[in-house]
Amino acid sequence: MTIARVDRRAQRSPAGSGATGTGQRTNTSALRRRQRRGSRLTALAFIAPLVVYLAAFYLYPLYRNLDLSLRDYTVRSFVQGDAPFSGLDNFRTVLDDPTFGPAMRHTLVFTFASIAFQYAAGLALAVFFNRHFRLAPTLRALFLIPWLLPLIVSASTWSWMFNSESGVINYALHLVGMSPVDWLNSPDWALTSVVIANIWIGIPFNLVILYSGLQNIPGELYEAASLDGAGAWQQFRRITFPLLRPVSAITLLLGLVYTLKVFDLIWIMTKGGPGDASSTLATWSYQLGFGTLLPKFGPGAAVGNILILIALVFGLLYIRVQRRQEA
């Protein structure tokens, strides 16, 4: 984009002044060529910082991660840098590992359950706050708190609340006469517990984006609809939801990418346990690379790459859906 614009502007001025004679014309075309080269260099100079930045902080790490996953790294060859190329062996190891199936399943359950509830709750709250009642701004600000807290604080707090011996949630259950639940210590509940905590953390993000989307829906539509006798539910279904579709799509996609890679929350609350009852691809990748005394960089990187691939697939899917909407 930038290059094209600079070129066009540079071309225009010599073309205007050099339309007098043939002798001058050859001169101008040489001049024009020189100027074009000059402007191209300028253009390159302008994009160079961005290219260098992208290469150093995005391309190179990605390339290294791919390289790590395609080589047979031991601690010795990691230090000496002479790990033999092993093709897709690491990926095969990872796919054959009995942890892979559960980790994949947990990743999908974690991601889709989190997103579904975050989106539903975020949308409900956004519609609620869109009514502009008194105190609405204050309440809305309060709902942003989960977003402001450092993740380690919220995750530790959730893990205390869920504690089976002294947690406040079991205490509340006890007060209403229900038997305590081993939230984080039972293989049946651990995944649910981290999903609950993650939903809580994700609601503000959905609320903010969907709320700003609601602001762009013209009020006249609602007025017209109510004149036509549409009730609140019909207004939501026929106006709010369809007009919010583009915003919803981007919210869901971003939420998906954020949730796929959630690591810290699970690591702080359960470390993927008990056993591997709440381990996802992200925690497993960390476990392989850094969680034991003997790091397995190759398989760890392979799991990381699988995670990137999944995110990429959904990203492409999003672009396709968006194109179709525009067409």
């Binding site: 293989p187 346990g273 034991t292």
Partner: protein, 415 residues
């Protein structure tokens, strides 16, 4: 090429979520002077970030440097980070001159080829107790000098035991311990707390029971291993131990014991200082074996090591620093500060003289084994992870002890 590789490495460090790249960059300064000349800066890493430069440990490190005629730049970092940081630094060719590492990490670093043999440096390890040195011995050659050892035993709350009518002296084996827990529970108190978390800490805490049954790490699913895991499971199922042992680190497990509600806590030497502050009378007994006697416990504690340097003339000074840190007088003050048991009989005798409470700990350390000892080396990490996973799946009720350990054995076999 060299430079690009270095930047690249920094990038991996960033990707790997190893946060403080700066610490890696602060590796050895190869331009500094060699052995003969005085001066220069020597880099020193340890896993004691809790001690700053004004602490006795910080002062000792500085002093040992000054005595050797050099300036020592000390960097303290979290013990779980230290191993990976060392690997990265060695890859970039700037490993520290002297490094204190947790004992099971030694074999990993030796496997990576980045540590010097103590015999090559001319360091003497003859006076060191064999079983403590064991964790740092690979193929009969030691690769470091232990600075001290710690291990696990059972702390008990005297008041709770006497209220429940239990005599701590009567606890000789697993049956008498379980019987004691039963009495404590029927007296309305909580039994025992330990750490069964899914990290190395969990394995460390499980090993005394695993070995106490006569278990062998290369056969995780033997009947003996199953007996140990069944003991823990029985305690959790019967409510003698809380379910949240699955979440407990050794620190949080200690905090539970410090509430004064628990009769027993499996914990380490390093809690002695906190035990005095707990505000109730406590005692310590060795962890019993299945059929009596003391169970073999795993050794904890750090080794002083000298990583490989390009400039071998630096070793002379490094050796002086190591010798200074591990001299008897300095061991005594260091191990007192860390509440560790000294690695030599001579210093242990002095320790007991200063503090008779250390006596059960010294006998526990004498019965202890290195996790990576006995030729296991870097096989240990590939056994430890399946083992802690098995403990977790059995205690959480997901699997029976036998099934959990069968899975662990299969996973360990794939290594």
């Amino acid at each position: 090429m060299r430079n690009t590789r270095r930047t690249l490495l920094t990038a991996i460090a960033a990707v790997g979520a190893l946060t403080s790249v700066a610490a890696c960059g602060g590796g050895s300064d190869s331009s500094s002077s060699g052995s003969g000349k005085a001066g220069g800066t020597y880099n020193f890493w340890d896993p004691y970030p809790q001690f700053d430069a004004s602490s006795p440990w910080g002062k000792l490190v500085t002093k040992c440097g000054t005595d050797a005629g050099v300036k020592v730049k000390r960097t303290g970092m979290d013990t779980t980070d230290l191993g990976n940081k060392a690997l990265l630094a060695a890859q970039q060719g700037n490993a520290p001159d002297v490094m204190l590492v947790d004992n099971p990490v030694v074999s990993t670093l030796v496997e990576a080829g980045i540590l010097n043999k103590t015999s090559d440096l001319g360091l003497d390890t003859k006076s060191i107790q064999k079983n403590i040195l064991g964790a740092g011995v690979i193929d009969n050659a030691p690769y470091g000098v232990p600075i001290g050892a710690n291990t696990l035993a059972l702390y008990y709350n005297k008041k709770i035991l006497s209220a429940a009518g239990v005599d701590a002296g009567s606890i000789k084996d697993w049956n008498s311990l379980t019987a004691a827990l039963k009495k404590v529970k029927s007296a309305g108190k909580k039994g025992i707390t330990f750490s069964a978390i899914n990290t190395e800490e969990g394995s460390f805490q499980f090993l005394p029971w695993f070995w106490g049954a006569g278990g062998d790490l290369t056969k995780l699913n033997s009947a003996k291993g199953v007996a140990a895991l069944s003991l823990w499971k029985q305690w959790v199922d019967a409510g003698y131990a809380p379910k949240d042992v699955l979440q407990n680190t050794q620190t949080t497990s200690w905090q539970e014991f410090a509430t004064g509600d628990y009769a027993f806590s499996e914990n380490g030497t390093w809690q002695l200082g906190n035990a005095d502050k707990a505000g109730f009378a406590y005692g310590v007994i060795n962890i019993p074996g299945q059929n009596g006697g003391s169970a073999p416990v795993p050794t904890g504690g750090e080794f002083v090591t000298v990583p490989v340097q390009k400039d071998s003339s630096r070793y002379d000074v490094s050796k002086k620093i190591v010798t200074c840190l591990t001299s008897s007088t300095n061991l005594l003050s260091t191990d007192t500060a860390l509440t560790y048991v000294a690695p030599t009989a001579e210093v242990q005798a002095q320790q007991v003289k200063q503090n008779p409470e250390l006596k059960p700990w010294i006998s526990a350390v004498a019965a202890a084994r290195g996790r990576t000892s006995g030729g296991l080396g870097t096989k240990y990490p590939t056994l430890s992870q399946p083992m802690w996973t098995a403990v977790q799946s059995a205690l959480s009720g997901g699997k029976s002890p036998q099934a959990a350990l069968d899975t662990a054995q299969t996973a360990a076999g794939k290594g």
